[in-house]
Subunit: 169 residues, 2 copies
């Protein structure tokens, strides 16, 4: 509800430049990001060294502004419904090396430096630690996925002691 | 409406393994993807050679199944409201090299080979051809973005002749 009201408000008074027309959005020189009905924009975060995708998250206007200004990744946590300065509790801060916006300005790509740290709350370096095998599927309900990262970087039970798991069924 | 009905149906009879508990989703060996209320899962697509993020899209169950089986990227086009075999009209097919799922299985990472082709409907190789400058913002409404790709790979007016532009205000 809080997001819906904020989103309604921002629809009429966006923080960034108002989206005027398709040419300006695609070929223009000004940032005019599109936030969805919940006031959020999806974010792809990659490791600036390996190029691996570390995580997929969301930002609201404030998270995007704070990320640009502080050069540290800020997201909107949908599970906690609050601004999320990534690494504030775990110590795994994401230093932003480059920030890009896509053609229709409705998604963001963050290139970050996490040193030897991790990005995933389960303890792996990347959230995408499992691979889906390609080819003919025998049974969709028994499709086995393969672990590509074998070792966790940290123990989530120690780092996130007492905090609820953001993964929802 | 069509998506809403499909989504309602799939909620009770998912194509892939039903999500049983958090441990199975995060540490288990079976694919149990989470589709949102519209029946969609976000997809990050990267270039298997450069590691660049090419695009951010969405899949429904059928698009995910077809991508796995054909090894060519299929998405759900939200603007056209239909299954989208990427490259079918432009010729820029995305050959899937690897497919990953994230910790809570609510987003997908596609590594693809597009040869010397392009991924962006505006004509650039990547949809993320513009960079947002980092640091103190003077005025959010006049935040200039910088072109990182200088040259288009193709002319969209020739390739997509007569087709509506998917970018919406």
């Amino acid at each position: 509800m809080q997001i819906a009201i904020l989103s309604f408000f921002h629809y009429f008074t966006p923080m960034f430049k108002k989206r005027e027309n398709v040419f300006e959005v695609e070929e223009g020189k000004f940032l005019s990001p599109k936030f969805d009905v919940d006031g959020l924009i999806p974010v792809v975060t990659t490791d600036c060294k390996s190029g691996d995708v570390l995580m997929h998250g969301y930002m609201n206007e404030d998270a995007l502004r704070k990320t640009i200004e502080t050069k540290e990744a800020h997201y909107w946590s949908r599970s906690r419904r609050s601004l999320w300065h990534k690494g504030k509790s775990s110590g795994f801060i994401q230093k932003v090396v480059e920030l890009r916006i896509d053609d229709d300005q409705d998604s963001v790509w963050l290139m970050v430096d996490i040193g030897n740290g991790a990005s995933c709350h389960v303890g792996y370096r990347s959230c995408f630690y499992r691979s889906i095998p390609l080819g003919k599927i025998k049974n969709e309900k028994e499709l086995k996925i393969e672990f590509k990262e074998k070792k966790k970087i940290f123990d989530p039970e120690k780092v996130y002691k007492g905090q609820p798991n953001p993964t929802k069924i």
